[in-house]
Symmetry: D2
Subunit: 457 residues, 4 copies
Amino acid sequence: MRLVAPALGVYAPWVSDPGTIVSRVLRTRRATLRLVESLDAEDLVVQSMPDASPAKWHLAHCTWFFERFVLRPLGIPPLRDEYDYLFNSYYEAVGARHPRHARGLLTRPTAFEVFEYRRAIDARLGDLEGTPDLVTAEVATALELGLHHEEQHQELLLTDIKHLFGQNPLKPAYRISPQTRVRNSTPPPLESAASLQALRWLGFDGGVAEIGHAGPGFSYDNESPRHKVYLAPFTIASRLVTCGEYLAFVLDGGYLQNDLWLSEGWSWVNAHKKRAPLYWLDGGADEVDPSAPRIFTLDGVRAFDPNEPVCHVSYYEADAYARWARARLPTEAEWEVAAERGRNAGLAGGINDAMSGHLHPVAVARDAASETSRSGVPAQMLGDVWEWTQSAYSPYPGFRPLDGAFGEYNGKFMVSQMVLRGGSCATPRDHARTTYRNFFPPGAEWQFSGIRLARDA
Amino acid sequence: MRLVAPALGVYAPWVSDPGTIVSRVLRTRRATLRLVESLDAEDLVVQSMPDASPAKWHLAHCTWFFERFVLRPLGIPPLRDEYDYLFNSYYEAVGARHPRHARGLLTRPTAFEVFEYRRAIDARLGDLEGTPDLVTAEVATALELGLHHEEQHQELLLTDIKHLFGQNPLKPAYRISPQTRVRNSTPPPLESAASLQALRWLGFDGGVAEIGHAGPGFSYDNESPRHKVYLAPFTIASRLVTCGEYLAFVLDGGYLQNDLWLSEGWSWVNAHKKRAPLYWLDGGADEVDPSAPRIFTLDGVRAFDPNEPVCHVSYYEADAYARWARARLPTEAEWEVAAERGRNAGLAGGINDAMSGHLHPVAVARDAASETSRSGVPAQMLGDVWEWTQSAYSPYPGFRPLDGAFGEYNGKFMVSQMVLRGGSCATPRDHARTTYRNFFPPGAEWQFSGIRLARDA
Amino acid sequence: MRLVAPALGVYAPWVSDPGTIVSRVLRTRRATLRLVESLDAEDLVVQSMPDASPAKWHLAHCTWFFERFVLRPLGIPPLRDEYDYLFNSYYEAVGARHPRHARGLLTRPTAFEVFEYRRAIDARLGDLEGTPDLVTAEVATALELGLHHEEQHQELLLTDIKHLFGQNPLKPAYRISPQTRVRNSTPPPLESAASLQALRWLGFDGGVAEIGHAGPGFSYDNESPRHKVYLAPFTIASRLVTCGEYLAFVLDGGYLQNDLWLSEGWSWVNAHKKRAPLYWLDGGADEVDPSAPRIFTLDGVRAFDPNEPVCHVSYYEADAYARWARARLPTEAEWEVAAERGRNAGLAGGINDAMSGHLHPVAVARDAASETSRSGVPAQMLGDVWEWTQSAYSPYPGFRPLDGAFGEYNGKFMVSQMVLRGGSCATPRDHARTTYRNFFPPGAEWQFSGIRLARDA
Amino acid sequence: MRLVAPALGVYAPWVSDPGTIVSRVLRTRRATLRLVESLDAEDLVVQSMPDASPAKWHLAHCTWFFERFVLRPLGIPPLRDEYDYLFNSYYEAVGARHPRHARGLLTRPTAFEVFEYRRAIDARLGDLEGTPDLVTAEVATALELGLHHEEQHQELLLTDIKHLFGQNPLKPAYRISPQTRVRNSTPPPLESAASLQALRWLGFDGGVAEIGHAGPGFSYDNESPRHKVYLAPFTIASRLVTCGEYLAFVLDGGYLQNDLWLSEGWSWVNAHKKRAPLYWLDGGADEVDPSAPRIFTLDGVRAFDPNEPVCHVSYYEADAYARWARARLPTEAEWEVAAERGRNAGLAGGINDAMSGHLHPVAVARDAASETSRSGVPAQMLGDVWEWTQSAYSPYPGFRPLDGAFGEYNGKFMVSQMVLRGGSCATPRDHARTTYRNFFPPGAEWQFSGIRLARDA
């Protein structure tokens, strides 16, 4: 179950094909560049909060990852020595680094220089295609990790730009109509569901189940080993909580009733004067116009579709909403078992893809025909919004971090964070999988995070 | 498995005997007073940090709990209206309250007035003994909760006084020799083990196990319902980590190696310049005199016994120590299964008792004869130090909080906290049990918290 | 003009009579003890904010001052070595000290021990009366400084206790009727003025004037040397601003109009949500009942007399009020020149005396007869409230700090503070003088600080 | 002495020539653009600390000032409504505004749009040249204030860019060799003095003197009215303190001796771990290489000339240095009287000019011939570094702020700030004058601030 690849002489739970990995890496890196096509250099440099990074930093850091962990072991010298200091994120094992909160001060190197950096490293990576002898299993393993690492940063780049623009009183749009390249154009019409799929409770028997990654494809170390868990019988919602449903919670005074909230969540609500999710523009129960609430999106400000999934809620909000709805959040094991059932039924869900179109989660339309066939299978499991679970982020039994600096990738964050599952509309298509464990502190709200309900059976 | 007592018309997982509960309550409350006999009024009023409370506040709050939840429902008016505001801790359901961080500003009511308050409420509780009709099942249920609530505050009172005295450059002793009542007398000689029990790894097979409280005795709601879990095979240490062992970690530069620490723990180490546990007086690797390190205890400053369990470590420290020792912390389920085996073997461990003597954890002496007989049974499980587990504090499957204000007792803290098990030397004797779930944030170090190691089998 | 006494071989601007200084010191110290007669030990230990100190600390620190600067140079060993660390305030020259913000953690030494400390040091000081040879000019100089130092702390003790009690929701009274010694008794009836003295503007010609202390009596180094200043013609108010006048400012929206405030003051108003002075209980313009506003005083809560001087305002408030009243605050030179004229006319003002009665500023009654005779002479200059001036605290031309540790007494605070003049109702009688320069940061409001207006002529 | 121009119907202490003011404004605005020629768009958008502003914001804010206070009263509508909110700095009278600390989040409007904004407003201002009827005295008055306002921001733009680049580990150079336009070129050789002018103490008799602006040229309201002051006899240094002299203070342990510092300064030293001035790169006494200390300048990093004036020191450092040197800082009146003597001797000093060359203060070379002729005249009074005075920033007697929103320009900052005099190498040439009162809080160090000593005669 656990694969030990000889990559860099270290343990890794995946094996990559040396023959194709370089071209896959370069394709992924081209996709990254497309994400910043509509941005100005100024948009790339600013850091909107300590938790976010400038887009330029994402571009440089992913590049540094390949330079540091693929090229340097091959004896290729760094392009500029100081990039080691500037673009290391948190790998203590490879040296000192620029403080995270100060990433936004780096007007130099300029975006132009960072693009040059990318080109230079891509050229060196491209050279590997012509020298297959160099692409050993170890090198392929590191390249594969770098590819997935870059995909993760693609999503972070989008959430961080959204946060930056969301702080701007002008509320600019990130996305521009590709045809016109005119800024602030009208956002694309909402793909609103004619009628919403009714929420059904899908039942699962209790008993011993298995969760975790079972090779041979790529997965992070924190998804292994696949292992048994015991589940009590439970039911899970057939779809995500919608904006309309969440609006009912807001209008019912959800943010004003302490008994709906965890103690820490209630402090958070009061400290931040929260009355509605991040990016809802009308500021809470008293002010929300129930007939036409507005939200800020990557397409700018627009009315919201009551049928689209609610998004950008913190764990505290997800938990409070669930309590209000006389339900709870699923555990990550429950979620994975439910997702597996869908996958086995051949219904992976319509993945939104940051590269190809949607950058907001869309509603599930009622479809009488398919509903029959899919009864018992949950929708919107992958690629809509990250779904908060009630599971704290902990090691799986038998967890073994990658050796060396790669071991810092996941393991050292296993405290004070909650697990989210499923991937979002901003997650690259092949980065979403049923065993993927994302994690954020309970107060994080700038990710595309939403709510699926569960109940004890 | 889940008991539904008619207490106050609400769900509770215990049933109390109305015939004895009042006298048990009053006995517990007398024990509380004995804890403050050696203190001056000044010691009772000061709050040493926001997480701690003044001893006077503990004395008053426990009293208010009985007044508010037992006497008021019986129609007995409050002694002073303003105590509702001053001595409510966190029960949002019963009204506004004095801010936690400002408890130390309350020089009035004076300690004298608080003792009067206790006497008055005790008298009213005592009256219930003469009117058994009033002690319905509901009232008995509330009295029982109040009793255990008071026991919890007995331990907190001790940890908070220890913290207060620990901040004082004079490092005063809390405990006074009962014979002499002379302050700052020589502390009692250490009961040092002639030779330490060697650490053995006790094995447990994997499979489905049951954890959680199984009546009919008292337990908190968070210990229910008893439920199945799946455990992978594991081993657990036969005893706690000692001060001597922890000193080796310190001297090996444990606080200076980032790869031993969780990311959040490493930030904590650097922010607080930690180099040794709280109450170790010689400040870290460079300064600790390995031949005679000193610690601050409730008996004042003394040399430490290398064989006594290490105490007052945070989760971050416990986790880092375990990584250094090529082990890990147990999950709470593993811990409970191991503790149950010991209990079934009739070996509950020698509980230290705050009421009767020890206020520091003591070493486990080697005893060749007993060692044979006890092989396979872990020592020091109950009543030495609280043992950090790697489990975040979450609801058990099927968890149901108590109804009404009592529901705030445990459930609303189920995020951002880690579970500790076993009870400490400061825990009242009948307050320690194998299913008890204590919880604190990972940075908490002023509780009597220590380390037991575990490993994957 | 500048006196150089040989005290301790150092410069000092005063000369003391060795024959009487010891008995004067002991009398002052007895007065200090009378200030805490009505307090409980708990009241003595708590520190209500970092700027305030516990009463016990004041009692010990003043004692330490005599021990350290009078007795130690005479070869008398300290009572307890650790008191040097615990009770040094800010004298860097004599060693490390307990952090100011942590003074409230010192439940030990107990108040009982501190009273013993006072008795022991007083006994040693008393011994000096029998050995006049020891009381050299140097020793007399240090004793004199210690006496005035203790008087300063008498006032601080009162303001700090008032702040502590003001934070308590019970709003306890500090003062007890001397007859009954019954706590929380009715406060003494207000000595309200039947009719208020009308505010008149007293004119002063411009030109060169002299300010600063002119011996031979005691003064602090910061009052010297006496020196010339040039004043433009000005007028100054014949009395202090009253609560009734300030209430008009509040009711006119004074706290809501940014153009009345300094920029830093406007930030202060908004950060603290200020709507009325500290200790006004009804919270601002919307809530103040103009017919019966209430204030917290050392006698507990009472209605305020509209004719009493407004008190406990910050510099920001004083400055904003003056702007609203189309006036300004006086400079310290203007204030001193005006006060000197009154003094020369034999009208030092009715000094309230913390030792003998009033602990709140009282109104100036109209008195037709005296008004004629006093025309041109300002009232309430000494002993009512400290009067904010528009002068920042700076050295006088030719300022020379005392040598040695005494040099830290005043000089090192000469930045970011504003000068207050006149003494308050809590200032000991012989501690108020026209040349005295008190100083506090502009946001300080817990001192007895009020407002006198001035205008360009 | 005080001019009352009819500008905007309000009081102002200057009169402008309507015939030339527009062209002078436009010339000044062109100079602003030259300051950013060498910067990238990314450099323009980032805010390095709350006290600093992005260069783009300076460019837009100065433009808004003309739009809001010149064009709008003439009935010309704003270019974009939202600029009122985004680019108002602190004028409460004209409405709400974007929070100062969040100026760096405004990636939109882009620099391109801001340059367009400047062009549009400049065009509208230029139109006024063709319609002289519109340029009434009121309009000319507002244009004049706008011109000087823009000059102030020219200097702030330089100090803020220097701070931004100083935070960057790459330590980029702002200035580019105009010939080559190659970034990071070698900085221009230092114009080092072959031999330093020896420091002489220039004497001034005491007595009544006059300070303050005496028309008819432009001055800010805070420089009026001209008024009498009384000065005690004093001496003032013939030149500024040099880097070499300050280095001696550093090497003598100046930052380690508490008795040299104001109490608040000592806290500042310890809180910030200061061991040398801002932009000295070798970190304090232990690390400074006395033979070749390095500093960061707008030309990048270079060795320092021991003869150049020390720069970027806080008030605390200036005050501590003076105490170490057995001197003091001058009062602003002393400084002005000394500067006037130089001006009357026709020796205004060689002003460095941000527009034309030097952006660092330069040394005063010994010149035997001129020294004789200049004996008694201080050098480096204007245009080298801002010189901290010991005067807190207060209103002059008779001070009258400009009416309306312009009244917020200076008056509302008159607390908690110290006055600096003389202008710096970054001050536009015609913006430096002997009566100019600059002001910053005592901890400010990112301005070009240095030290001139004084002494009591």
